[in-house]
């Protein structure tokens, strides 16, 4: 959330009083008779939509069902997750590599689902990390984070990762302008030394792999939110900015001086032409690309060192500005691609722009000066019209595909429905309290499914049973199929959801993976069958090739480990059944547990510090004999000569050869 709550509270005490009075309305009066039935999904039945909510300061994503509001999953993305070992296991810890080192937390804001022809296609999900600028990709067949790309030379990647209608690019912009390249300069040299970047990350259409295609060097503003054109406006990007004052202190006052800020408009097809024509400069920098290998599940991390920069001064007709009302936030485009809504947080009105008018103004060079060589389009020339006094503190807008727009108002705490063409206000409903983003399934695509709307509120207060000073955020589900919006459900959400996207369940269900086929496991430390389980020593590294099957781990007795060793437990789950993960916890391990999906191999590092016999066990209740799924590791003093032994069921084996020929031995023993 860019909007500083405290700032608004202080700036608008009078309005606040109005808001509180408004909020004290008894919401039970707003509930209609059949609301419970509408949100009710009977036991054993499925929700109609998946909703993916960003986690804000949790760094993660949560998956809810609509209309039930039931939580299905938390997908770890930008924060380590001891619950399953994400970011702790040897396979996944590289996911957090950045040019700043290992950064195990971030602030996730905006969810973008992949699209084809302006519709969600259900392949991938992208989300930004704000603090250490990066973008993650989640595979929607597994609901796992499989890739993270760092974005160099930007700060606070809030304005990210907005997707184009055929998933060509993810567009992002810097929230904080900074010296580029970074250097030690006085902060008050902001105007000369600080720059902003708009970044285009290209997507490989087959695998979804991300690559930083180019960056556009822009004036040092704060780039806030963006959308890409669709249908008629495909090929263009629109980014709101604030702080055209270029203030560097007390922004809540100093960045709100001018009546209007600027929206950046980028012709990215033109940018592609300049790139192809070699009109870029290549700059040395450093950023990381972390990609999970599909077969092994191992994340490979690679530093990249160059980036291609396009300068608008050298590349005419590529970037324009148009004024937007005071301190804009959301920038949203209707399903036809013709109308662009710019929400000025501190403005009493909302400006709606027309893409065709903007194109005409560019054609006619109807400009009001320029900023750093970038033409500023005449405001009135691009304006479709103004929505008069819709509410206070407009933030975000989505669409229902029937010509209506729905905008959240933070300060007046409501959702307002209005007609895009006529700009007439049709309905308003209170939310509890102070909504940030809202989501309609497909509400930013060419084909919205205008059945439900979820408002994600920033303040919860009295909505749920009190849980101390910190409350979960509240979301409110509205039925928007009729003329008036109907509140049908409140549900708590994890951490702080910013944006969310929702998709028809049928687009994901049939592709959802139920297990990893063991035949496809290419992990170098996989144990392909219990007969191959073994322990190997390489210097002070001990590698345990362990298997899990209901209800035992093999080997489950290990001896010959010494204090000072690094013990790697490579656990392969041999199950091939849906929803049968096995867990692994080692007493004294200072990282986390492992949760290993069927057919997968995951590795936990344990560095025993003292001699003794230590227990390990399966942490996921897997069968009636789950409690028996355990074992012992014996640790001897440094320099001791206890031999390396391992086994299961009293069959201790002493060398690798014996382990590899376990099957043959078993056969021989059996035939006697």
């Amino acid at each position: 959330m860019i909007l500083n709550k405290n700032a608004l509270l202080r700036l608008m005490p009078v309005l606040l009083i109005g808001m509180v009075a408004c909020n004290n309305k008894d919401s039970s009066q707003l509930i209609h008779g059949d609301a419970a039935q509408q949100a009710y999904v009977p036991p054993g039945e499925y929700d109609e939509f998946y909703a993916f909510l960003s986690g804000g300061y949790s760094g993660q994503i949560t998956v809810y069902g609509l209309p039930s509001g039931r939580l299905f999953k938390e997908i770890p993305v930008f924060s380590q997750y001891p619950e399953n070992g994400y970011g702790y296991s040897e396979e996944t810890k590289n996911m957090f590599n950045t040019s700043y080192g290992f950064v195990p937390w971030d602030d996730s804001h905006h969810i973008e689902l992949s699209q084809q022809n302006g519709e969600f296609d259900g392949r991938w999900l992208f989300v930004n990390g704000n603090n250490t600028p990066r973008i993650a990709r989640v595979d929607l067949t597994t609901f796992e984070t499989v890739e993270i790309l760092e974005i160099p030379d930007v700060a606070g990647l809030h304005c990210s990762p907005f997707i184009t209608e055929n998933s060509e690019y993810l567009v992002s912009g810097t929230r904080f302008s900074v010296p580029i390249p970074q250097e030690d300069v006085p902060i008050d040299t902001y105007k000369e030394n600080f720059k902003g970047l708009i970044n285009y990350v290209s997507l490989d259409q087959e695998h979804g792999h991300m690559d930083l295609a180019f960056q556009i060097e822009m004036p040092g503003f704060n780039y806030d939110l963006a959308r890409n054109g669709k249908a008629v406006s495909h090929g263009w990007s629109f980014l709101t900015t604030y702080n055209s004052e270029q203030a560097h202190s007390l922004l809540e006052v100093n960045a709100s001086q001018m009546d209007k800020d600027l929206m950046a408009i980028v012709n990215w097809k033109k940018a592609e032409e300049y790139l192809a024509a070699g009109k870029f400069t290549e700059r040395e920098t450093s950023y990381y690309h972390n990609l999970m290998d599909e077969g092994s599940g191992i994340v490979n991390s690679e530093e990249r060192t160059t980036t291609k920069i396009l300068d608008p001064k050298e590349c005419p007709d590529m970037v324009y500005f148009i004024p937007v009302p005071k301190s804009p936030h959301g920038c949203d485009i209707d399903p036809t691609g013709e109308y662009i809504v710019g929400n000025g947080k501190l403005s009493a009105d909302m400006s709606v722009y027309s893409f065709s008018q903007i194109m005409q103004a560019i054609e006619e060079e109807n400009f009001d000066g320029e900023f750093d060589g970038i033409p500023i389009i005449n405001y009135e020339a691009g304006l479709h019209g103004i929505v008069q006094k819709p509410g206070l503190g407009p933030l975000h807008t989505e669409f229902d595909g029937r010509g209506n727009a729905y905008t959240t108002f933070f300060i007046s705490s409501e959702v307002v429905k209005w007609d895009v063409e006529s700009k007439e206000i049709l309905d308003r409903q209170s939310t509890f309290y102070s909504p940030g983003h809202l989501v309609i399934p497909g509400g930013e695509t060419r084909k919205p499914n205008g059945k439900y709307l979820v408002a994600m509120n920033k303040i919860t207060k009295d909505r749920f049973l009190p849980t101390g000073p910190e409350m979960m955020h509240s979301a409110q589900l509205f039925d928007i199929s009729g003329e008036k919006m109907k509140l049908i459900l409140d549900f708590p959400t994890k951490a702080e959801p910013h944006y969310a996207q929702a998709i028809e369940a049928e687009k994901l269900m049939s592709n959802s993976k139920k297990f990893y086929p063991i035949e496809d496991n290419t992990h170098p430390y996989a144990t392909m069958g219990e007969g191959r389980s073994r322990v190997e020593r390489e210097g002070d590294e001990v590698h345990v090739y362990m298997t899990a099957m209901r209800s035992h781990l093999a080997p489950d007795n290990i001896e010959g480990i010494k204090v000072g060793d690094k013990v790697f437990f490579h656990l392969t789950n041999l199950e091939q059944d849906w929803d049968v993960p096995h867990g692994f916890a080692m007493q004294g391990a200072t990282n986390a547990e492992l949760l290993v999906m069927p057919g997968q191999t995951r590795t936990l590092l344990w560095e025993p510090k003292k001699p003794g016999v230590f227990a390990f066990y399966c942490t996921d209740f897997c069968s009636a004999l789950h409690q028996e799924m355990s074992g012992y590791a014996r640790v001897s003093a440094e320099g001791s000569n206890v031999p390396l032994k391992w086994g299961l069921n009293e069959e201790l084996r002493e060398n690798q050869e014996a382990a590899n020929s376990f099957y043959e031995q078993a056969k021989t023993r059996a035939s006697k």
């Binding site: 086929p517 063991i518 209901r550 035992h552 059944d577 056969k667 059996a670 035939s671």
Partner: protein
Amino acid sequence: MKNLTLIKMAVAALFFYSCGSGNNEETTSSSAPDTAPEVPESIAEGKGIGEIEEVNLEEELDEDMVKMGKAIYDMKCSACHKLTDQRVVGPGFQGVTNRRKPEWIMNMITNVDVMLDEDPAARAMLEECLTRMPNQNVSVGDARNILEFFRNNDVEKTGNKDQANS
């Protein structure tokens, strides 16, 4: 073909039912008349229940199939089943083709959830071993290879194979 489809539908219905009702035997038997009218013929014949209706075996073993069957066994089965008559988690495989018809063996491998709920012999083993055999997602082709490997194992261990197949 029509018959096969009908059988598959019946299997699907049974599976759905058993899945929905859990493992409560009383519930299963009391409401059985509505959903599972009679013991399917294949169960009565000792062939179990599932996609596999008829398996024709050649007397001579196919060495390639034995090898492929062993590879699957090593990876997906050996954690619980030994090749001797020793029971660990599940029963040992020695002599399995002398005890069970090939259709039963392959149905047990490829349709284990339904077998454990509906086939009396499979249920009796569950009561003995007390661990539900997991679905290891073995294809019909791989199950056939495993069967060939079992026949080979039985010849090696007991000098006999396929004694239940008469």
